[in-house]
């Protein structure tokens, strides 16, 4: 018996075909062997401008053009490579040094291999996306070389060769091929000008083999050392690798090991493990919560050991702890800065996961667990057993000055702690050579790893944003913290703008193609009402009496979808940005300036394209019919809310425009009443407005104003709501699966439990949460005659108990789930602000398709359609961006208030003492060692610690340091059932200050700067509770 194998050697084409074999496990549990055939080609260009061969063979597009070559003919040289060099990094080099590759000072002309890109994608999606962005930009000259598809550089895996070894070999093969190829194609030219090919790898074996094969290879560190500014660049290398090597020997482990992926999956499927997003309490950094699908209430994760290296925002898997370890949520404010201030970043030996101080802090909570009331009842606790997805990002922070070594002058590398601005994130150990320079700076760092043998995560420095408290640094910090895309629009986006620029006009002739499908509404008396100084005018209104006694009411929205075509660069950029972000002194636009403030903006006196919703309404504001149309309008006037109010109130004005505004106001009041009757909530959030353009001499705090609510505000609001609802119903009927809608889920009643309990206890008030209508009614009853703000306070607290509204695709939920709880509307969407929200832009496209508007090129109906998956991606992104934009805006106001207080204190410094400013404040939460108060005047809330309660004995003490010393003498008596906190000096209970929940207190607000201690130079708003009863 003999065996015969077919012989392929005679077939010349077999070399061009190879295959890739791997195992794929599908979600449904199937395990498949996948074979992909690869057809190798020889026309993939090297993309070096030096090359004379590749341009002639490179594949061309339909017009016969080849993709422009990327790699420079004169790449930058270093001392080691005077003739210039191309860099070929391997995957680890990118993993460890992505920040370096993004640095503008070095790392030009980089060849990214397809092999490396794919490996990176498997290891880290964020880094992969960053690398893709780098490849897309022209400046850095990154070239993605499809080495796996090119015959010469394709590497077949050998018998018993690991994937890593094979990939390393692929990198070396490419380097070799580039060397030979460049030498060959430049033979005619000067031999000297051939750039070197430098492989960057940290793999020792790879370095050794490269040497054997005559390939130039350097470790990342060696390569960077040869560059200018090496010190600064070296800091940007990922720390985890070194740390791991250095510590392998020690083997002291602080944290329990994570479960294996398969164990977690089994547990999740079996239901004994739970997955959710880890969320750290804003008041206690040792306590986290995780909301899981299996339980109504979130699980509590207590202490560092249980949270097991999870960082706020990570998607983790938890296991519920046995009942004897259940605890009640903490009643104490625990600040990482205070508890761990003496940690030494260099020393690892005497580290324990739970320090004595932390243990004491935790002990308090255990004691509390035995309380009797609802709040004190022990709740299920859990421990983290694995992390499904790290949500690490770049963090803005400051170097902890106490953690820097004594001799900060030298260029010696040392470990320092970086305190992130976000209090929920633990401090990050960073290795740097420039500790001294970084003190007092806002810096950007990233977390690389958190190993079991390290108490804190390790990270590395990326860049400095500038001096602390400078406007530019703080603004950038804020934008980075909330992941706001603030870079200027790239050229590809600006290229999508109309070529006429600001000279663009609505075509004169109504026969023009731009008029196709548009109704001429130029003769209507349309006006816009917006906040003062508004440039991006999204909406305008009109109303007129019809011959039959009814009214025609029109809402006209800027026709942004006319200018932003789907899937071009501008559309993609807008979909990523999602929303315009408003800061106190800055606006980060979603769309380029030209569109937002000019071409789309419904400015007065000029003709503009609009998308109009027209209703016929009876005088009782009953809708007879609704109509949607693209239109051309000419706004007669752009009012601010105040101007509009004045004009309406002025009886001498009887012109048609004013009359129509009065009609609008009248109708809006009826609409509002109807909405309230249907159970809409009147919610409140702590909002202040800042008019930043005041002169320098006045009181800086005068700029801080609480928002005034005028009738005209609600006029605009009502019609916008009405337009949104009308449009939502229309697009849902046309796109039952893919309509872009907005919902506000009905909050589960247990969310309100605590608030109900507090109100019952303190004020004997009942909160009905069975429906939004009942809640609205009961909120209306929560008033305190002596305390007009009390109602608002309750509303603020109630709002926090609710879920936030979200965008979704109609197919994602059942129709009964579409409800907008707060607005008491069965269906809702956003249609009225397409200049500043991407959702509205999409809705515009869908509505255009729904009314069979064809557009200039007849494509508008197609533009309206979108796949469900894409829609879900967009919704996820804009929900996230929307939330971040709100946070960023609030943070900006907070920062501004702080700065205004500081400016005030500096102005008053002439008197010698900064006395701060006295304000009313309300107690929002009571802890065992402090309270949280809300200052409506500035819209800020702040923690008041024991030492910041002013007792009669220490009224004179104002300096931070002086007050800090008080803390050791302070004693508190906390009653968790009555929500009271009695603060006194030790042994002097008779002279005490007692505060309770919802109480109005007098506070002193000032901006203080820490002069000593760990937060040197850090400014914060300090609130002192004054010993004055009102």
């Amino acid at each position: 018996m003999k065996s015969l194998r077919r012989d392929f050697s005679g077939d010349p084409s077999t070399a061009n075909v190879t295959s890739k074999v791997f195992v794929r496990s599908t979600k449904s549990g199937k395990v498949q062997k996948i074979v992909r055939e690869l057809y190798l080609r020889q026309d993939i260009p090297c993309s070096s401008r030096l090359c004379t061969i590749c341009p002639s063979v490179a594949p061309t597009d339909a017009n016969g053009n080849i993709v422009p070559f990327v790699l420079s003919e004169q790449p930058a040289g270093t001392t080691a490579f005077p003739r210039g060099h191309y860099i070929v990094p391997d995957t680890n080099a990118l993993l460890n040094g992505m920040d370096l590759f993004e640095h503008t000072g070095a790392f030009y002309d980089v060849i990214i291999l397809q092999t490396v890109l794919e490996e990176l994608k498997n290891q880290s999606l964020p880094l992969y996306n960053r690398l893709l962005a780098l490849i897309k930009t022209d400046e850095k000259r990154f070239y993605l070389f499809f080495n796996e598809f090119r015959l010469e550089t394709h590497v077949r895996r050998e018998q018993d060769e690991s994937i890593n070894d094979r990939n390393d070999r692929a990198v070396r093969t490419v380097a070799k091929w580039y060397m030979d190829h460049l030498r060959a194609v430049t033979k005619s030219k000067k031999e000297k000008s051939v750039p070197a090919i430098v492989v960057i790898t940290d793999d020792k074996e790879n370095l050794r083999k490269a040497k054997e094969e005559n390939v130039t290879a350097l470790s990342l560190e060696n390569y960077v050392s040869g560059l200018e500014e090496a010190d600064r660049l070296l800091d940007m290398i990922n720390e985890s690798r070194e740390a791991r090597e250095a510590k392998e020997a020690r083997g002291e482990l602080f944290y329990p090991e994570y479960y294996s992926m398969s164990k977690m999956m089994t547990g999740l499927r079996a239901g004994n493990l739970h997955q959710g997003v880890f969320n750290v309490s804003p008041y206690n950094y040792l306590e986290g919560q995780i909301k899981v699908a299996a339980f109504d209430k979130p699980l509590i994760i207590m202490g560092r050991h249980n949270s097991n290296r999870a960082i706020s925002g990570d998607v983790v898997v938890v296991e519920v702890l046995p009942k004897d370890q259940w605890k009640s949520p903490s009643t104490k404010i625990v600040d990482e800065e205070v508890v761990t201030k003496n940690d030494n970043p260099e020393g690892e030996d005497n580290e324990a996961v739970v320090t004595e101080r932390e243990r004491r802090a935790l002990q308090e909570e255990v004691r509390q667990a035995h309380g009797k009331n609802l709040e004190g009842r022990p709740q299920p606790t859990a421990k983290v057993v694995g992390v499904v997805k790290r949500n690490w990002r770049q963090y803005v922070g400051t170097v902890d000055s106490t953690s820097t070594g004594s001799q900060t002058s030298g260029r010696r590398q040392q470990n320092v702690f970086v305190l992130p601005m976000e209090k929920k994130v633990p401090k990050i150990r960073v290795r740097t050579r420039q500790a001294a320079d970084l003190l007092g700076q806002r810096i950007l760092v990233t977390i690389d790893a958190w190993n079991r043998d390290s108490r804190y995560p390790t990270g590395h420095f990326i860049r400095s944003l500038g001096e602390l408290e400078t406007k530019s640094a703080e603004t950038e910090a804020l934008l980075l913290e909330w992941d706001v895309q603030y870079k200027p629009f790239p050229k590809s986006v600006l290229d999508c703008l109309p070529s006429e620029g600001h000279d663009w006009r609505v075509p004169q002739s109504t026969d023009d193609i731009g008029w196709r499908g548009r109704r001429d509404l130029r003769d209507l008396l349309i006006c816009s009402i917006d906040p003062p100084g508004c440039q991006d005018i999204d909406d305008a209104l009109h109303a007129r009496k019809l011959p039959n006694g009814n009214f025609e009411v029109g809402v006209h929205i800027a026709d942004v979808s006319h200018f932003v075509k789907p899937n071009n660069a501008m559309d993609l950029e807008a979909s990523v940005r999602g929303t315009t972000v408003y800061l106190v002194d800055k606006r980060i636009d979603m769309l380029p300036h030209l569109l937002g403030t000019d071409l789309c903006s419904l400015k007065p006196y000029v003709e503009r394209y609009a998308f109009s919703v027209l209703w016929e309404m009876t005088p009782d504001a009953e809708v007879v019919s609704a109509d949607f149309t693209k239109s051309v309008i000419r706004s007669r006037e752009a009012f601010s809310y105040e101007q509009a109010q004045l004009r309406i109130d002025d009886p001498s004005k009887t012109d048609e425009l004013t009359q129509s505004m009065r009609t609008l106001l009248h109708l809006s009041k009826i609409l509002r009443q109807k909405r309230m009757d249907a159970g809409a909530l009147n919610l409140a959030s702590p909002e202040v407005r800042i008019e930043a353009d005041n002169d320098e001499v006045g009181d800086p705090l005068a700029d801080v104003k609480t928002k005034a609510m005028l009738a005209t505000n609600s006029l605009v609001e009502e019609f916008m709501l009405h337009a949104n609802i009308t449009v939502a119903a229309k697009i849902y009927s046309t796109f039952p699966q893919t309509a872009m809608l907005r919902r506000h889920a009905t909050p589960p009643p247990q969310n309100f439990e605590e608030l109900i309990n507090q109100l019952t206890k303190k004020r004997d008030m009942r909160l009905e949460v069975s429906s939004s209508g009942a809640l609205a009614d009961s909120l209306d009853r929560c008033t305190d005659a002596e305390n007009p703000f009390f109602n608002t306070l309750v509303r603020i607290l109630a709002t926090r108990c609710m879920t936030s509204a979200e965008y979704f695709g109609a197919g994602a939920h059942a129709e009964s789930e579409f409800r907008h709880y707060g607005l008491a509307s069965p269906i809702y969407t956003h249609f009225t602000s397409p200049i500043r929200r991407y959702a509205d832009l999409l809705v515009h496209r869908q509505l255009a398709a729904a009314i069979n508007y064809e557009g200039e090129d007849g494509r508008a109906t197609i533009e309206g359609s979108i796949t469900r998956n894409r829609l879900e991606d967009i919704c996820r992104n804009i929900n996230y961006r929307h939330r971040n934009a709100q946070h960023a805006g609030r943070a900006s106001i907070e920062y501004y208030v702080g700065q205004a207080l500081k400016a005030r204190s500096e102005k008053l410094a002439a008197d010698g003492v900064d006395s701060g400013i006295e304000e009313d404040a309300y107690v929002m939460r009571v802890f065992e060692n402090g309270v949280v108060v809300f200052v409506p005047r500035f819209g800020i809330e702040g923690v008041v610690r024991l030492e910041d309660f002013v007792l009669p004995s220490d009224e004179a003490l104002r300096a931070v340091e002086e007050r800090r010393e008080l803390v050791t003498r302070r004693e508190s008596d906390f009653d968790p059932e009555e929500y009271t906190l009695k603060v006194s000096d030790k042994g002097q209970q008779e002279r005490s200050v007692c505060v309770e929940l919802f109480q109005r207190v007098k506070v002193n607000v000032s901006s203080v700067k820490e002069e000593t201690g760990r937060g040197v130079g850090k400014r914060r708003v300090r609130i002192l509770i004054l010993n004055k009863k009102k």
């Binding site: 003999k2 065996s3 194998r5 195992v23 062997k33 060769e161 294996s260 398969s262 004994n272």
Partner: protein, 387 residues
């Protein structure tokens, strides 16, 4: 009618005249040294060509072609499947809890698999998949496959519980094997030996993705195909540094051989013509017994020999056309020693009745004995480079 006959008998009945049948039978029944039409010795197999891993998309595959032009391809696919739990097993499961107790499941319960986890489908040109021949063939090959269990102590490279045991992942999960057998040519001879050899090779080449999870966890596999493990584990020879050293299997799948008897003679790997005159046709399944190192018999099935359906020849003495032309004395009937029936030499008479026990015993012995045909075949298959 013709198809039915095809299906039930050992092969297509060749259109051979009674005279030819008689000639064949006489040649093959020569005592001690039968003369086969193709000149082979009684135990000689026809040359074949074989290769494995011909279908990249499968977990394992093989192609075997006999010199007479018959060819078969076998592809093996494996799928992860949840094990339906009996009440008892579920109780155990509950006690096992969240996978931590996985280790204790390694022994007893976990290793018993079910025969239904191996599915075999045979496709023969000209036959429907519910025709008797493919169904019968597949069951004939599947049965020894799943029932062959090597008892014995568990050590390296051995399969506890045989193939069934190998398919168990843990108490809740198992592999399901789909063996698809495709005969590429017309079934010129009874295709069983070809299909069996091809299936044997395909199973040897079959790999399963490497399991990364442990114990009672939901299975989770290495995505590197190169790390996949052979279904029939191999052990490298002690001196692994010899380049090109072939790793050997301790456990191999069974093979089914077709053996015919003609008079006293026992003939292996019969051709179509040889089957047509055979007294008995047996399918003998054998496998290596890991304990003794010898071959063991797994099953014997008799196959209806087509010779029973042939037309009988007419002796000259009874032939009207030749009456009187030949002396009756020349045609005196003699008793066939193997069948005990009276026959006229040179005149074909369809076989009837059974086979002697001694003949069957002899057939089995020739297959199983040391240095016998069975070992020769398995050695030959071992020589086919797998992987």
């Amino acid at each position: 009618m013709a198809a039915q006959r095809q299906a039930s008998s050992a092969s297509q009945t060749p259109h051979i005249s009674p005279a030819e049948l008689s000639y064949l039978y006489t040649s093959l029944s020569l005592p001690g040294t039968p003369i086969r039409p193709d000149g082979r010795s009684p135990t000689q197999f026809r040359p074949l060509s074989a290769e494995t891993d011909v279908l990249p998309g499968t977990n394992g595959s093989a192609r075997v072609g006999f010199a007479d032009g018959t060819q078969a391809i076998v592809g093996v696919k494996a799928e992860v499947e949840k094990t339906a739990l009996g009440v008892q097993a579920q109780q155990l499961e509950g006690a096992g809890g969240n996978g931590e107790a996985g280790a204790d499941g390694e022994g007893g319960v976990a290793t018993s698999g079910q025969g239904s986890w191996v599915q075999m489908a045979i496709e023969i040109p000209g036959f429907r998949d519910d025709d008797a021949l493919p169904v019968f063939l597949s069951e004939m090959m599947r049965e020894p496959l799943v029932e062959s269990v090597s008892s014995g102590v568990k050590d390296d490279g051995e399969m506890v519980g045989g193939l069934k045991g190998r398919l168990v992942i843990n108490r809740r999960w198992h592999w399901r094997l789909y063996i698809d057998v495709l005969l590429l040519s017309q079934p010129l001879s009874y295709p069983l030996p070809l299909l069996s050899l091809t299936t044997h090779l395909a199973l040897l080449a079959t790999k399963l993705p490497k399991l990364k999870s442990k114990g009672e966890e939901d299975p989770f596999f290495d995505d590197d195909w190169n790390a996949a493990e052979y279904l029939y584990p191999r052990i490298k020879p002690a001196k692994t540094n010899i380049p090109g050293s072939i790793s050997v299997h301790k456990v191999r799948p069974p093979v089914t051989l077709l053996v015919v008897s003609v008079a006293e003679n026992i003939i292996f790997d019969p051709s179509r013509e040889e089957i047509a005159v055979a007294d008995a046709v047996l399918a003998i399944s054998i496998a290596h017994d890991a304990d003794s190192g010898r071959l063991k018999l797994l099953s014997i099935r008799t196959i209806d020999p087509p010779s029973r359906l042939t037309q009988p020849g007419v002796p000259n003495s009874e032939n009207v056309a030749t009456v009187g032309s030949t002396a009756a004395a020349e045609e005196s009937a003699i008793v066939n020693p193997s069948t005990g029936e009276e026959e006229v030499p040179g005149v074909w008479k369809p076989r009837r009745g059974g086979v002697k026990r001694a003949t069957i015993a002899n057939m089995v012995k020739m297959v199983l004995e040391q240095g016998g045909v069975g070992e020769e075949v398995l050695e030959g298959l071992e020589g086919v480079e797998v992987g």
